[in-house]
Structure formats: structure tokens, C-alpha cells
């Protein structure tokens, strides 16, 4: 299979440097508003500072995937003597908590690294963080070109929904016999 180059975008988070200002939340919500920068609302931000000042917890977390159901188990982390609440490090938009959801509609939010045309030099939260808590890094990796099975499966599921499993299975059998 052919080799292709893939761009990997990373935001390195040095939480020890965070002074808790929440500028990242502000600019994220501003950038993603329509028209751009027209409204500010940190509850819509795709980055949230998990704060517990007296516990010395200031932890920037980015919105990740949507999940329809919460986990069966929970974890609590203690790092350097600091106890983090359940789910603190999880990026999911999850029924177990309020963050990473549009406050009015409840629709899930996900960090898109501020994809834009033309592309930005760095995501807005990184640009707005003047304490270097968030540092943007981009690298290229060579990977084998492969069919993304997830997309194939999504297509098959919609075919099954439309025509029924039996008909789709028959079609696949027919195609494989021709080969």
C-alpha cells in the first residue's frame, strides 16, 4: 500500500503555567460565534479550564468526541498530591456532565483546532494564552494509505437502514461471486 503524509496537530498543555485567566475560553467562544467575534460565552467554548483554586487545580481540557452514554466506571486521579475530580481528564461530551455542550440546544461541541480558510497559524486559544500554557505543534507523519473502515461501515449501515440487511447481504454475496 502507498505511503502518504499526514499532518498531526498537537496542543501541548503545560498546566503548571496556567494562571487561570480563562482567556482561552473567551477567545474560543468568540471565534466560533456567527458572525465571527460577535458574541462571547465561555459556556460555548471548546476548551474549558477545570478550576478548583484552593486545590491548585487549573487544568485546560479540550472538547473531544460525543458519547451517548456515560462510562460504566469512573476514575479519580491523584497527581503530585492533587486530587482531581471524576472525569476531569476526559474530553468527551457526555451525559454525565454539562461541559462541551451548547448551553441552549445541548448539542455537542468539539475542538476543531480553529480550522479556517486560509488556515490560521495556530488555534486561537494558543494565540491568546500569553503564559505559554498552550503551545501549538504541527508535524508530518508518513503513514500507509489505507481505506478508512469507519467510513465504509457508516455507508453500509445507511444502506442496511434503507434496503434491509438481507438485501445488502445478498448484494455483497453476488459481488463476491463475480470476483
Amino acid at each position: 500500500m502507498a505511503k502518504i503524509k499526514k499532518k498531526v496537530k498537537t496542543i501541548k498543555v503545560d498546566a503548571d503555567k496556567c494562571n487561570g485567566c480563562r482567556g482561552c475560553e473567551i477567545v474560543c467562544s468568540a471565534f466560533h460565534s456567527t458572525p465571527r467575534y460577535s458574541t462571547i460565552n465561555p459556556a460555548r467554548s471548546r476548551i474549558q479550564i477545570i478550576r478548583h483554586p484552593l486545590k491548585d487545580v487549573w487544568l485546560p481540557i479540550f472538547a473531544g468526541e460525543y458519547t451517548p452514554a456515560e462510562c460504566m466506571g469512573r476514575e479519580k486521579y491523584v497527581i503530585d498530591g492533587k486530587e482531581y475530580d471524576e472525569c476531569t481528564f476526559c474530553r468527551a461530551t457526555c451525559p454525565s456532565r454539562d461541559i462541551f455542550k451548547e448551553p441552549d440546544s445541548g448539542l455537542p461541541l468539539k475542538c476543531d483546532m480553529c480550522e479556517d480558510e486560509p488556515p490560521l497559524e495556530q488555534p486561537k486559544c494558543v494565540e491568546w494564552c500569553l503564559n505559554d500554557v498552550l503551545v501549538y505543534e504541527e508535524r508530518e507523519e508518513e503513514v500507509e494509505e489505507s481505506v478508512e473502515m469507519e467510513k465504509v461501515e457508516t455507508g453500509l449501515v445507511s444502506m442496511i437502514d434503507k434496503y434491509g440487511l438481507d438485501k445488502v447481504a445478498e448484494a455483497i454475496a453476488r459481488i463476491s461471486q463475480k470476483d
Binding site: G20, N41, P53
Partner: protein, 662 residues
């Protein structure tokens, strides 16, 4: 649609429990902008002039400003206004932190409290849902611990909570309102909370705040970001460290306190301790300071590090900022940062102003030593022990008594001025550092400084640390230094003023008290005050604007920033007119409560070398410059210029403006 502001206030009648969300008149933003400006207008319109601080009618307003909750850097102040039990005038202490932004995200510009609650309550504002909740179980709790208890009780980790401690519950006149790492401290806002039986106000908001022209606004902020980065990388040379940067005094960052500890006055603003910062102190103080600081922290949307999380030995954690780390220690003559960190924790949980309170305690110590406060005042009470005799123990005992209003503490809790008059027997002579009944910075200097004379005497804030600002505190010794300073100084309102700084000498005819000249002083002080008034309407931290040298916010970029946020069509002249209107309304309001020229006096011993004639001329000239009569009351002409004809009419009716007096 409203821009910059939410367009709604929350009106809460504590006596009846009635809560209303009231749409505000958009015209008010055009005439008074917001923050302190619109709050002053509400006090003028609604609260009769003869209302006493602990009357039901003493309205208390917690207000945001027009730039809070926007991406404007360091726009994070919350201004609390009320008639002060200490000064009897309209006080406006401000706190940093995160409250005002959260309030606007909840959909409100201000929370306005009327009357008193029959029992202890806290207010829970969660977007459109607002509740008055029982706070009986929180009585006696610390100001900081109450905040976390409420967050836990509500299961709202992101709620912002402003709370009082025991001092506020007991209506101490220097009780503060504490909120995270910040506090609205001066002049007894905590006492008014306590009088109204408000233990705390909690707020959580998840709604949008609108910006009129987002692209233009963000362009201004991008420019400001570059300047903030520049200033942080390039401290101003040839000034003391604390003045070299931007932000509120970076007291948590800096550990070299030679200047403050040797130039401020220890005890009851009494003793300068030259040579204090010796080798031993130079080792112990920075080490203990850093030992206590767990993390440097900021307020909402501010890149600076003015505050800190304090985790010192077994002392419960708390947050600190500014000069609290020095004020108790210096007032107590206790040469120990260990004492400083421990005492500040206790004072923060009690919820007391860390400028006024240490001076009250030091004043009490002097009275003890002078035999005016006697043995009978120091013996054990029904629930407290006798006063220890060691310095540390005595100071903390006094703090405990003041916060609880127990024994002699009940008198001291009224502040130095009023306590001195209640105690009598010569105690008045020990009240040597107050203006308008309010304790001042513990600082005594040599030659009368005309700029500072005007600031001390005339500002409605009654607190120099929140008035001084953009003009250097002293002349640079060499021409080279002066030229370097003025070379890059776009914040000045007028380039010709650079010449004043170039000519300003440390000694001689072109030095204080003669230079800057009276006319120059009027212009400089008016400019600095005007900037504070803009900050206070926008609720921008003065540390990034009117308080520091060469700040990010100034008169040339403010109109563009406010216009982009609000949609108002502002230029420098129209912005100045708005804040001058609010400033004169504030003055008229205080005039109406009896304040006049007789009250506008810095402490007699503030400077060793006084110049009565120059001082009188200064004050007279400044009054004229401001458009005030020689009693310090805005003239009819000035009020009419500012569309405040109704104020002139009121002052005329009261005889404060006489017929034919413009």
C-alpha cells in the same frame, strides 16, 4: 439588541423577597456608560440624601462595567456602591476576580439590593433563575470557606461567589466582600452586606454577551496583546521595581521589599525603619514568601500574576494579592513573613480590609501603650481570653476582638476616626492618618508634593493607592533618563506635556512643591482621574490602565475599544464628557451628604515640609479647573455643560449652590 451591556438589572427587595429582572434604558449607556457611572446615577435618583448607611433605604449595587465578559484584557472589576458607614459618603470599592463577567453571562449588568432581609440569606443567580436561599448554616463561617461551601451545596463548581466573613456579619466598618483571590475592601461594603443579612451572592451564567463590531474589537485587542507582551518583556528602567511593570502591584511576584519596608511607616503610620532590610531579612523574607506561594494567579482574562494561592505550612489555604502580605506585619512591628502569612489568612476569612484594619489595630496598640486603652479593656470577656502581652499575641487578640465586635473591639471596629472620638481621653491625637474618616496608606514623606496633594484631597475614592497613576511619582535625576522616558510615551493626552517631565527636577526651583506648576498639576491630576473614571465605568483593572506607568489602555485607544464593544460613536472628547458627567454627579452626591472643602485635607503630618499658601492655591485652582466653586461643589455652569441641570436645581434648593454663583 444590546451590545457591551446585557440591558438588564436584577432588583432584589430583601424585605419582601421580591425579585425582578428589569430592562434598563439604553440611553443610560450614552449618558453614563456603565459600571460606576450608571451606579452613581441610580444612587442619585433613588436614595434620598439623608439616608444613613444602616437605614433600610441604603441601596447596595453590585455592578459590572461595559467591557466585562468581552475579550478586553483585564476587564474584570466588579464595583460595589453604597453609603459607607465609615465615611458616610458614596463608596465604590472594586474587586477583581471573575464575578462581573459571570454576572453578565447570567444576563445582568447589576444586582441592586433594597432593604434588609429578616434572616441570613444568600442569593443564587443561575441565569434566569434567581433564588434567595437560607444562609443560617453559614453564619460564623469564613469569607473564603463560605464560597466553597456554597459551590458544594449548589453542586456548581463554576459558580462565582462573593461572601462576607464574621467581620461583615458584625458590621465592622472595614469589613470586606471577598471573592476568590479578590475583594471589595474599602469603606465597609461587608458591613452593609451584613446589615442587610446577605451572607453571599453566588452567580453562574451561560448566556451570550454581544459585541457590536467584533472584528474591529479583536483588532484592538491584538494590538494590545502585542503591547502587553512588549511591556512584560521590557520593564521601565530607572523606577522602583514595583512601578516598572504593568498590572496591579506584583506583590506576589516580587520578593525584594527593601523599598516598602524602609519607606512606609510601621505601626500606626508612625516609624520609618531605615536599614530594616538587612542581610538576615533579605534571606528570610523572600524564602518565606516563596514558601507560601503555591501558584501565581490572575483575574478573568488577564495575563498578569497579581495574585497567588497561598499554601503555608499548616495554615488553611487562601488567596492573596497586593500589600496584604506586608500591612499586618508592618503595623504590628513584627519582623516575620511567617506572621504575615498566618495573619493574612485569619484576616481574609474574617473578611476585613487589609489596609484599614492593620492601622486600626496599630492605633489600638498605641492607645494601650499610652494608657488610654486600659487594663479593664484588655481583660478576658465572657467568651474570650485576656489580651496577651507579646506583640504578636496582642495584635491577633485585637484582630479577633474587632472582627467579632467584642469588648474594646466593638469600638475599634468603627475605624480609627470614629473610635478615637468614642474613646476620647486624648485618643483623637492618635488619629493622624485619616482623610474623610478613612485610613490612608501608612506613608509620611518630606516635601509636599502638589500632584499628590490634589489626589489625596479631592478624589471621591479617598484612597491614594487607587487614584495615582500614569505620571511618574518623582522627577528623574538625569536628563538622559527623562529623555528616555518621554521618547516612547503615546499614552499622554498631549505631547507638549513631555516638556514638563523634561524640565522636572528632583531639587530646586523646578522641583516640588513649585513644579509641576499649579496649572500643570491641575491638568495632570484631572487626566489621571478621568482615566480612572473610564476604567471604573468599563470595570477595567486600573493596574492595566490608570494606575501604572505607560499602560495598555489609555485615552487614545479607549474610545475605539468602547465604540467597537458597544456601538456608541465615541471620540476622546465625547468619552471624556460622559465620564466627567458621572464624576461630577458623584461629587454632587457627596456634597449633598455634607462633603465640602473643609474635608479635603491630607493628614497634617503626611509631609514634613508643608506650604499652606501653595496648598490653598492648589486646591482653589483645581476647583476652578474642575468647574467647582470654592467649596468644592460643581457650579451650575459646569453641571449644565454636562446636561446635569437637574443636579444644579437640587443643589440650589439645598443651598449648596447660591444664587448667581456659577
Amino acid at each position: 439588541m444590546r451590545y457591551g451591556e446585557t440591558g438588564y438589572n436584577l432588583e432584589i427587595d430583601l424585605a419582601t423577597g421580591n425579585i425582578e429582572r428589569v430592562e434598563t434604558d439604553p440611553k443610560l449607556m450614552e449618558t453614563h456608560l456603565g459600571g460606576l457611572g450608571t451606579s452613581v446615577k441610580l444612587h442619585w435618583d433613588r436614595v434620598p440624601a439623608d439616608v444613613k448607611p444602616f437605614d433600610d433605604e441604603n441601596m447596595l449595587i453590585i455592578s459590572s462595567g461595559v467591557l466585562n465578559a468581552t475579550p478586553a484584557f483585564s476587564a474584570n472589576r466588579t464595583v460595589v456602591t453604597f453609603y459607607s458607614p465609615e465615611s458616610d459618603l458614596l463608596a465604590y470599592p472594586m474587586m477583581g476576580g471573575f464575578f462581573s463577567a459571570e454576572l453578565k453571562y447570567a444576563g445582568y449588568d447589576k444586582v441592586i439590593f433594597h432593604n434588609k432581609s429578616p434572616k441570613w440569606v444568600y442569593i443564587w443567580i443561575n441565569n434566569d433563575k434567581v433564588e434567595i436561599r437560607d444562609a443560617t448554616h453559614l453564619v460564623g463561617r469564613g469569607a473564603l470557606e463560605t464560597q466553597d461551601l456554597i459551590r458544594m451545596e449548589l453542586n456548581q463548581p463554576n459558580a462565582q461567589v462573593a461572601a462576607i466573613g464574621v467581620a461583615g456579619e458584625n458590621k465592622c466598618f472595614t469589613a470586606s466582600i471577598e471573592q476568590g483571590r479578590s475583594s471589595a475592601s474599602r469603606l465597609g461594603g461587608g458591613a452593609i452586606f451584613g446589615d442587610k443579612k446577605i451572607k453571599a451572592v453566588a452567580v453562574r451564567g451561560t448566556q451570550d454577551v454581544n459585541i457590536y463590531n467584533g472584528e474591529a474589537f479583536m483588532k484592538e485587542m491584538k494590538d494590545m496583546m502585542a503591547y502587553i507582551n512588549f511591556r512584560n518583556a521590557n520593564p521601565i528602567p530607572d523606577v522602583m521595581t514595583i512601578l516598572s511593570g504593568i498590572g496591579s502591584p506584583q506583590e506576589m511576584v516580587h520578593t525584594d521589599e527593601k523599598w516598602h519596608t524602609e519607606n512606609f511607616m510601621w505601626g500606626n503610620a508612625r516609624t520609618r525603619r531605615r536599614g530594616f532590610w538587612d542581610e538576615k531579612i533579605n534571606e528570610e523574607f523572600p524564602r518565606t514568601q516563596l514558601e507560601g506561594i503555591k501558584r501565581l494567579i490572575s483575574c478573568f482574562n488577564c495575563p498578569q500574576h497579581c495574585g497567588a494561592l497561598i499554601s503555608y505550612k499548616e495554615t488553611p489555604r487562601y488567596m492573596a494579592k497586593c500589600f496584604g502580605k506586608l500591612t499586618y506585619m508592618m503595623a504590628a512591628y513584627v519582623d516575620s513573613m511567617d506572621f504575615a502569612w498566618r495573619t493574612l489568612q485569619r484576616a481574609t476569612e474574617y473578611g476585613v480590609d487589609s489596609f484599614s484594619t492593620p492601622q486600626i489595630l496599630a492605633f489600638a496598640v498605641e492607645l494601650i501603650e499610652a494608657g488610654i486603652i486600659t487594663e479593664k479593656d484588655l481583660k478576658a470577656g465572657p467568651t474570650w481570653p485576656a489580651c496577651p502581652t507579646d506583640k504578636e499575641g496582642r495584635f491577633l487578640w485585637l484582630l479577633d476582638r474587632v472582627a467579632h465586635r467584642e469588648g474594646i473591639g466593638d469600638v475599634l471596629a468603627d475605624g480609627v476616626y470614629l473610635a478615637a472620638r468614642q474613646i476620647g481621653n486624648g485618643a483623637e491625637a492618635f488619629d493622624h492618618n485619616t482623610i474623610k474618616r478613612h485610613e490612608q496608606l501608612p506613608l509620611k514623606l518630606g516635601t509636599m508634593d502638589p500632584l499628590y496633594y490634589l489626589m489625596y484631597a479631592t478624589n471621591e475614592k479617598i484612597s491614594i493607592t487607587q487614584i495615582e497613576g500614569n505620571w511618574p511619582q518623582g522627577a528623574f535625576p538625569t536628563m538622559e533618563q527623562r529623555e528616555a522616558f518621554v521618547k516612547d510615551w503615546p499614552q499622554l493626552p498631549d505631547d507638549s506635556w513631555k516638556q514638563w517631565l523634561l524640565e522636572w527636577e528632583p531639587r530646586g526651583e523646578k522641583a516640588i512643591p513649585y513644579f509641576p506648576t499649579i496649572d500643570m498639576c491641575c491638568q495632570i491630576v484631572d487626566w489621571m482621574e478621568m482615566l480612572h473614571n473610564i476604567d471604573d465605568a468599563c470595570c477595567v483593572c486600573a493596574g492595566m490602565s490608570s494606575f501604572c506607568l505607560k499602560p495598555p489602555y489609555h485615552i487614545h485607544n479607549y474610545p475605539r475599544i468602547i465604540s467597537a464593544a458597544t456601538g456608541l460613536d465615541l471620540d476622546e472628547a465625547s468619552l471624556k464628557k460622559i465620564v466627567n458627567r458621572s464624576r461630577n454627579l458623584h461629587r454632587a452626591l457627596n456634597n449633598r451628604r455634607g462633603m465640602s472643602r473643609k474635608d479635603e485635607k491630607p493628614p497634617q503630618d503626611h509631609w514634613k515640609r508643608r506650604f499652606p499658601e501653595i496648598e490653598e492655591n492648589l486646591l482653589s485652582a483645581y476647583y476652578t479647573f474642575k468647574g467647582w466653586n470654592q467649596d468644592g461643589v460643581p457650579t451650575k455652569e459646569r453641571l449644565n455643560e454636562l446636561d446635569l441641570g437637574y443636579v444644579a436645581e437640587d443643589l440650589e434648593k439645598r443651598g449648596l449652590l447660591k444664587d448667581g454663583q456659577d
